[in-house]
């Protein structure tokens, strides 16, 4: 079709130009040759050929104009005509524009998230070379790296430019009026070089400042700089105070720098040479490395594994069984939400298809009404191409306006996602830019093709139909197509609805199971404690004093701490060994490990089934296990009194099991309780959850808790003070995001399908008015006619439902793994959908 070729010409104007240049160059050369054959000298021939041809540039331009002018001309004419005819039917235009705006807008919105989170490289130079490193241990879930080993890896490997690492903590900053919680990252040397980012203001950490014995120094985030120091350019003369030490600010990081997390406000040296950091069993670093150019992850993996194997020979006791784990940094940051986002994207694509079907049906109805008009144009000599071009322009105009409106809608995406999924990685990078704009316009173009195709194909038939005036046969034929379109809409809507139903039900299920503990009326919060306090002997008494203070508040029943949150998905599987008693030494015991205070069980209302409650005695740790642990690993044996240890963990001394408690869903509400062992003692990490059970409404004691904490620990900041229920909800925010958004999409889809059905039926009634009139005059009853149309609609809806359910059955595999408590082929789910079909 000449039309498409012209479009190609405009899009690739440069291509046309070089084509023309080549063509003319060929011409000149042929002429030159001919002149030479007539006996002219070469330079003379060249000059003559050029002279005869005239101004080359002018001719090239004129030729190109020929290619473009005609296109622009017809485009302009079509555009004007389309706008005029659309203005004449405002209701139709509005309906079509809104439908497409919704379809394209939602699609662009989700695409902007997919693009920012999944498609774009991380915001570092050559970010595809960045790798997250860990030490792999078959016996433990942790993959943190010992500082000594981190330095050895960096020194001995040959595939990385450099290897570094970091860890984080929440610290109280004391230079202001109130202690303020700031997230701190402690970084090993080479950290900023690996990321390829330099401070926007000030300088990087020096080698002395990286050292344990060197001077203190911190880099701060752009956000903190603006908030606390009003973007003062002389901020490098100021300092932050953590505990008793004053840390001078030496620089400000650029605004878009958000590593290791967007919450981090302060970076300082990790003092990797500290005397306490020399043990090979003490692990707390997450590693990052930058691959040398053109090396693959596999090469780095095998090289680093060889390095670690050599270390295993030198230090068989600590390193013998350690491996290495390498993950592309991007995967480790966004891998967890990949499926959720693609599923959302898939569902909005279905929604866009549905909107297309809807608009196509609208256009078909309109084309019928305008069949006469089109026939007149044909008979006046318009070509098929011209009529098609006009129809496509009309659809294109609508799609374009729809896309612009949709972009407006998409501009609110970031804030919506921020509300629905606070922990979505790279959330701060979601922006509307030319990529999203280009995507929306491309979506509009595809939509134009999709929506325009059927009406264009049909328009040529209109000619014959009008010519022989056999109106009835035509309506029958066309209504089949329109009912098919409605059927497609219903099928797509049902698919979305079923998926949304499954996701929502599985999300609700989280709140409905009996988890083995009681999360109601429990308040949780964090208190800023730093890493170097964890080794201090008075930490336990300090924690105990805080818990006592909590219990003293009227209205508080009990208080406890735990490193993990019960019911929030946390997998911390380790291997245990029995130290005494009968049983073969090869027995593998692997279970969940938890660190709690003895009051945890009473606070969470987990019952003690046998033995006694553990005690937080110094030097002689005790533990309790849950029922599953005893049943699975020690069936028919006495477990109480046995001593267990966790090999390879320097923080854990062998401890005695003193009691058995009830099963609780520690690893997540959606999972059956797993074998679990609880150590009762001081936590080995600063970030612990404080759990406070209120007698009645927890809101009553919230402020009392704050007040008490200020009195007990004036130099620490309290943060994330919230109800355990809410926090559990947050830890399922991915599920919530999927559920909420998919429900919204599904409801939109259903209403679009309803509108589609209504539109098609009312159009049919309209077209067949004459026929109905005749039948009524011949004595047909009103009810008979109404029921005839109704049955027609119901039949289509039913077929759509069945087709949709088939789609669901076929696509439900995509959802497995995202669902808990329901199976994708759940018959109840399908049955619940039926009433919707009978709308």
């Amino acid at each position: 079709m000449a039309w498409t070729r012209r479009l190609l010409n405009t899009v690739c104007a440069r291509r046309t130009q070089t084509d023309i240049e080549r063509e003319i160059a060929f011409h000149l050369r042929e002429r030159e040759e001919e002149l030479r054959e007539q006996g002219m000298s070469a330079p003379e021939a060249a000059r003559m050929a050029r002279m005869q041809f005239g101004s080359r540039i002018a001719h090239i331009e004129r030729t190109r104009d020929m290619d473009l002018n005609l296109l622009l001309d017809s485009l302009y004419r079509n555009l004007r005509f389309s706008l005029r005819s659309l203005r004449k039917s405002p209701v139709f235009t509005l309906a079509a524009v809104l439908t497409l705006a919704l379809g394209i807008g939602v699609n662009s919105a989700v695409f902007s998230v997919v693009d920012a989170v999944l498609l774009r490289p991380l915001p570092f130079p050559e970010s595809e070379q960045l790798v997250e490193l860990g030490q792999a241990n078959a016996k433990s879930a942790g993959n943190l790296i010992a500082p000594v080993r981190l330095e050895e890896w960096n020194r001995l490997n040959s595939t990385f430019e450099a290897i570094s690492g970091y860890y984080q903590e929440d610290a109280s900053e004391l230079s202001g009026d109130m202690p303020e919680r700031l997230r701190r990252a402690f970084v090993a040397p080479r950290f900023f070089q690996i990321l390829g980012v330099a401070p926007a203001l000030g300088r990087d950490l020096s080698a002395q400042e990286q050292s344990f014995s060197g001077p203190r120094a911190v880099l701060i985030s752009d956000r903190l700089w603006r908030r606390r120091f009003a973007a003062d350019p002389n901020v490098t003369r100021k300092a932050l105070r953590f505990g008793r030490t004053l840390s001078p600010i030496i620089g400000v990081m650029p605004p878009q720098f958000a590593f290791p997390a967007s919450t981090v406000d302060v970076w300082s040296g990790a003092g990797i040479d500290a005397p306490y950091a020399q043990g090979r069993d003490l692990t707390w670093f997450t590693g990052i490395g930058r691959l040398k150019p053109r090396l693959t992850l596999e090469q780095a993996q095998s090289n680093l594994a060889a390095v670690q194997a050599a270390l295993g020979k030198d230090f068989p006791k600590s390193d013998g069984k350690l491996g290495v784990s390498l993950t592309p940094l991007k995967d480790s940051k966004v891998g967890g939400v990949r499926r959720t986002l693609w599923i959302l994207f898939g569902s909005v694509t279905l929604l866009l298809l549905l909107a297309c079907a809807n608009v196509t049906a609208l256009f078909l109805s309109r084309a019928t009404a305008r069949a006469h008009d089109i026939a007149v144009r044909f008979s006046l000599g318009a070509s098929k191409g011209a009529v098609a071009g006009h129809l496509l322009t009309e659809v294109g105009v609508i799609a374009f306006i729809g896309a612009l409106l949709g972009l407006l809608m998409a501009s609110g995406t970031a804030s919506l996602f921020r509300r629905l999924a606070r922990d979505l990685p790279r959330l701060e990078e979601i922006t509307l830019d030319w990529r999203i704009l280009a995507y929306s316009l491309a979506a509009a173009a595809v939509t134009t093709m999709l929506c325009g195709l059927l009406p264009v194909l049909r328009s040529s038939e209109a000619l014959g139909a009008v010519m022989n005036q056999s109106g009835r046969g035509r309506v029958q034929g066309r209504s089949k197509v329109q009912f098919t379109l409605v059927g497609i809409q219903v099928a797509l809507a049902v698919t979305l609805l079923a998926a949304a139903g499954l996701l929502v039900r599985s999300f609700l299920y989280v709140g409905q199971v009996a988890p083995g503990f009681d999360a109601d009326n429990v308040i949780s919060f964090h208190l800023s404690v730093s890493w170097n306090e964890t080794g201090q002997p008075d930490l336990r008494s300090r924690l105990e004093r805080i818990l006592e203070g909590m219990r003293a508040i009227p209205g508080v029943a009990n208080a406890a701490t735990s490193i993990t949150l019960p019911g929030a998905p946390t997998d911390y599987t380790v291997e245990f060994k029995t130290l005494d008693g009968p049983g073969d030494p090869d027995r593998r015991i692997s279970g969940q490990q938890r660190y709690v205070t003895p009051s945890y069980f009473e606070t969470m209302r987990i019952p003690l089934l046998a033995g006694e409650m553990c005690q937080a005695r110094a030097g002689k740790p005790t533990a309790v296990v849950n029922n599953s642990f005893a049943r699975v690993y020690f069936p028919g044996e006495t477990l109480i009194g046995r001593r267990l240890t966790q090999p390879g963990n320097a923080y854990i001394q062998p401890g005695e099991v003193v009691g058995i408690v009830g099963d609780a869903r520690e690893t997540g509400m959606h999972e059956e309780p797993r074998p679990t062992l609880y150590w009762c003692g001081a936590p080995f990490q600063p970030r612990v959850y404080f759990l406070v059970r209120a007698d009645g409404k927890p809101s009553v004691v919230l402020s009392a808790i704050r007040y008490k904490l200020r009195e007990l620990e004036p130099n620490r900041s309290v943060y994330d003070l919230m109800l355990l229920r809410d926090r559990l909800g947050d830890s399922y925010s991915n599920a919530r995001l999927r559920g909420v958004l998919l429900s919204f999409f599904a409801l939109t889809a259903v209403s679009l399908a309803c509108i589609g059905l209504y539109g098609t039926l009312s159009y049919l009634v309209n077209v067949r008015q004459k026929e109905i009139g005749v039948r009524m005059a011949l004595g047909a009853s009103r009810a008979g006619i109404v029921s005839q149309f109704l049955m027609q609609g119901l039949r289509v809806a039913l077929f759509g439902c069945v087709a949709g359910l088939c789609l669901v059955a076929a696509g439900s595999k995509l959802l497995t793994g995202l669902l808990f408590g329901v199976v994708p082929s759940d018959p109840w789910n399908a049955i619940r959908l039926l009433p919707v079909c009978w709308q």
């Binding site: 023309i20 080549r22 063509e23 060929f26 002429r31 041809f53 002018a58 004129r62 020929m66 290619d67």
Partner: protein, 111 residues
């Protein structure tokens, strides 16, 4: 050679191109000028600069089709050929040209 009075009358270039392509099949631009030049007994000479805009316009109208090919000397050139639409157009233009010349002829003879 230089410019002579026998440059092609405005508006007849399309006709000449279409006619040439109808009788000779696929030709590149240079061959079209050469053909018109020789068939007209060297009476007509296509102004080379206006040939290509014309060819491209005919292409956009859908009367000729263009594609890249190689000449017998193995050079890349853009070859033009007539489409079905072009044939129709040729007949129409020939008819109108005949009417025009007949009319002009009559005026010259009888006026």
């Amino acid at each position: 050679m230089g410019t002579k009075r026998n440059d092609i009358l405005q508006g007849t270039l399309d006709l000449l191109i279409l006619r040439t392509l109808a009788s000779r099949g696929k030709l590149h631009g240079y061959a079209i000028t050469a053909h018109i030049h020789s068939v007209s007994n060297e009476l007509l000479r296509v102004e080379e600069g206006s040939l290509y805009p014309a060819l491209h316009r005919l292409e956009q109208e859908g009367w000729v089709r263009a594609e890249w090919g190689t000449t017998e000397k193995n050079r890349a050139a853009r070859f033009y050929s007539l489409t079905a639409k072009g044939h129709k157009q040729l007949h129409a233009e020939e008819a109108s040209w005949r009417r025009l010349t007949e009319g002009v002829d009559r005026v010259i003879r009888f006026a």
